[in-house]
Symmetry: C2
DNA sequence: CTACTTTGACAAGATCCTTGAATAAAACGG
DNA sequence: CCGTTTTATTCAAGGATCTTGTCAAAGTAG
């Protein structure tokens, strides 16, 4: 219960925050609009905007070529100064690094990517991350120290302090205090989060889940992962292990069986893992192979069987299929939607992620923006 | 985003709310303590308390026989005036009604209960509810119109407007606008909610889940139901159908099979339903029957199998077994805890509900209190 | 009984907001 | 081209609230 109270300066901060929030939410605003929207008088709004202007959070938009000319004296128009700060979103994958630099308006200013072997020693990986952030920042004309926040997404169980409690994919990652390590290497505030949670964050921000507050995100690639958006907030769980469905006892998540069987039957010589088998089957299905279509369909229904155990208790609005296998598109969504329609009282919509491979980096940017906003606004929302 | 802003009176309300909240949270407080806790000056705290005193929200505690005498002048001590308002919590079960009247401090002032046949026509049931509320209020020396809020819990899918979208147990209940019907019969604000959600609310407030913000509540009686507490808030779901696990496709929730088989084997003549079989088996197990113990154990493990599909993605701190079958106690909890320990990365604690049959009425009281607090505090928390 | 400590009460000063009137800048119509 | 209309800006006066500081009151400790 964050309770606000105090002297008159609190009131000022309250009103200032309100106006800044309004400006963040729209393109341009006049003083009259701001005063009305914030519920304060004009002179108050004016004084606040003047302060924000002086502090660099707001800028005046001078150009005057607008079509919707009003009758009277033209109002000064203001907007949030997106370039008043920048953040970086980082995705540390098993074999790749990606850094995305955005301004506070969420506009992308630079993107860097580089491959990194899965067996890279931990110190080298950390250095590579720091270096790639430096390069991406430089692309955007910034020093790392100028970044308001750096959001980092990685696989594994990541606790609230940014420690990697457990990681199956990256060797040496388990037990790493990623937050501390990166903070030591970067002259900027670092925030670390699990990749699944960032994926669903990204979908909520700019993806398929805009406006949806209850979402189950299914990540399907080499492994199956899950991210949950509940009541508009990303769910962490009591031990930050939300979405870790690797150790399920029943067969619900060993869905790859169907496509692997298919792969084995068609090309016995070729040994394919789960993801490769799925991609192989999807390719053949698109080429018109009926058996492949059925295998993918069974794969989808098997995924749905696992999804149902979560969807029925949670009653989400939407199910999003993300990860590499989201490229299967309708081939995967259709059987999943079918299963949901059959077995749910209120079937959620099943859709594929539209964000693609940048999903987690985008979520990391959002994470960093959230952190930046905690600095931007003096009082909690 | 509930954004607060405005003139100086907002500041006053902010501070007033802060002080009232502090007083709700502790037994007695002096002005100095209040001022420090609320972060305002003494004179401000004094003025606010004076206003609250005048409005009847706060009372001065005059008795002066306290042991912990301080050195200086004795401070006046104030406390929240619990009797400044009262609420009722109502539980409409398949065959019973229960009404609990509490003051705003949560102290129980009256309880009424009465059986009501499951096939009672809807208008009669509604009248019986209204009448029992009237009686319980009278027991507490109150008229219904004096109740600040009435919380109502019932089975079925209950949407945000208090409509019973679907009910399997009560005939004619489906499609009923319970909120509207009861509002028409009661001269007090009514809030309606699903019984599972109230059960978990009650556990969070006064039961086993105090201080736990992520809880899976499993209701085991004639039917299996579920209530979810996520991030300290009760989860409703996009269609208010959270916890409706009746239509699960797999066998996870048909756990009664084990105890029913046992019952059939031991007393083939006696036809028992799921709950009866379970109670029968529990009774025999307590009497020392090894086969019964095993049947109950299998029952527990089967429940756990269903639980796991939810527990693994959600990563709760605690699993609570409620409903009539919670009387099985350790016989049920032990196999469930075993299964959780085996199959979870971070196994939650499994416990039985300690609230018993009053659980849902208590949750309804909490629901009503929440509503009352929205009236009590002028600004959202 | 006196010194000390803590609380209570009150006044002065500061901050912030609001209302209302006067002024400024643009569009419209003759 | 000029006055009227419309809307925005600026300024001053007034009110609500909070804070600091001072002094009186009511106890305890010795």
């Amino acid at each position: 219960m964050r309770q606000v109270s105090g002297d008159a300066s609190v009131l000022r901060r309250l009103n200032s925050d309100a106006i800044l929030r309004i400006l963040r939410g729209r393109e341009l605003a006049t003083l009259t609009e701001l005063a009305a929207a914030a519920g304060v008088s004009r002179p108050t709004a004016e004084g606040i905007v003047e302060d924000l202007l002086a502090d660099g959070w707001v800028e005046e938009y001078a150009e005057d070529e607008r079509a919707d000319r009003q009758r009277g004296r033209p109002a000064r128009r203001f907007r949030f100064r997106a370039s008043s700060g920048h953040v970086a979103g980082v995705h540390i994958d098993s074999s790749n690094l990606q850094v995305m630099v955005c301004d506070l308006g969420g506009e992308v200013r630079a993107v860097r990517r580089r491959p990194l072997p899965v067996d890279t020693p931990v110190p080298d990986r950390l250095s590579a991350v720091a270096e790639l952030i430096r390069l991406a920042a430089a692309d955007a004309g910034l020093a790392v120290a100028e970044l308001t926040a750096v959001g980092v997404g990685t696989t594994g169980v990541v606790d609230g302090e940014g420690r990697v409690v457990k990681s199956i994919v990256l060797p040496g990652w388990t037990g790493l205090h990623l937050h501390a390590e990166l903070s030591a290497r970067l002259p900027a505030p670092v925030v670390v989060e699990n990749d699944m949670r960032l994926a669903v964050t990204a979908e909520h921000w700019r993806g398929a889940a805009r406006g949806c507050d209850d979402v189950v995100y299914l990540f399907a690639a080499d492994r199956i992962g899950m991210g949950l958006l509940i009541g508009g907030r990303v769910h962490r769980g009591a031990h930050a292990a939300s979405g870790e469905i690797g150790s399920q006892p029943n067969d619900n998540w060993s869905a790859f069986r169907h496509v692997m069987d298919y792969s084995m039957a068609v090309e016995p010589g070729e040994l394919r893992g789960g993801r490769q088998s799925a991609e192989f089957a999807v390719g053949r299905a698109r080429a018109g192979d009926e058996k492949a279509r059925l295998a993918v369909r069974e794969f989808g229904r098997a995924l749905a069987a696992g999804l149902l155990t979560v969807v029925n208790p949670l009653d989400p609005e939407m199910v999003i299929i993300g990860g590499d296998l989201s490229s299967a598109g309708d081939l995967l969504v259709e059987p999943i939607q079918e299963s949901l329609d059959e077995h749910c009282l209120y079937p959620p919509r099943a859709v594929v992620s539209g964000l693609g491979g940048e999903c987690i980096a985008v979520g990391a940017v959002r994470l960093a923006l959230d952190h930046a906003e905690r600095l931007l606004f003096t009082l909690p929302a």
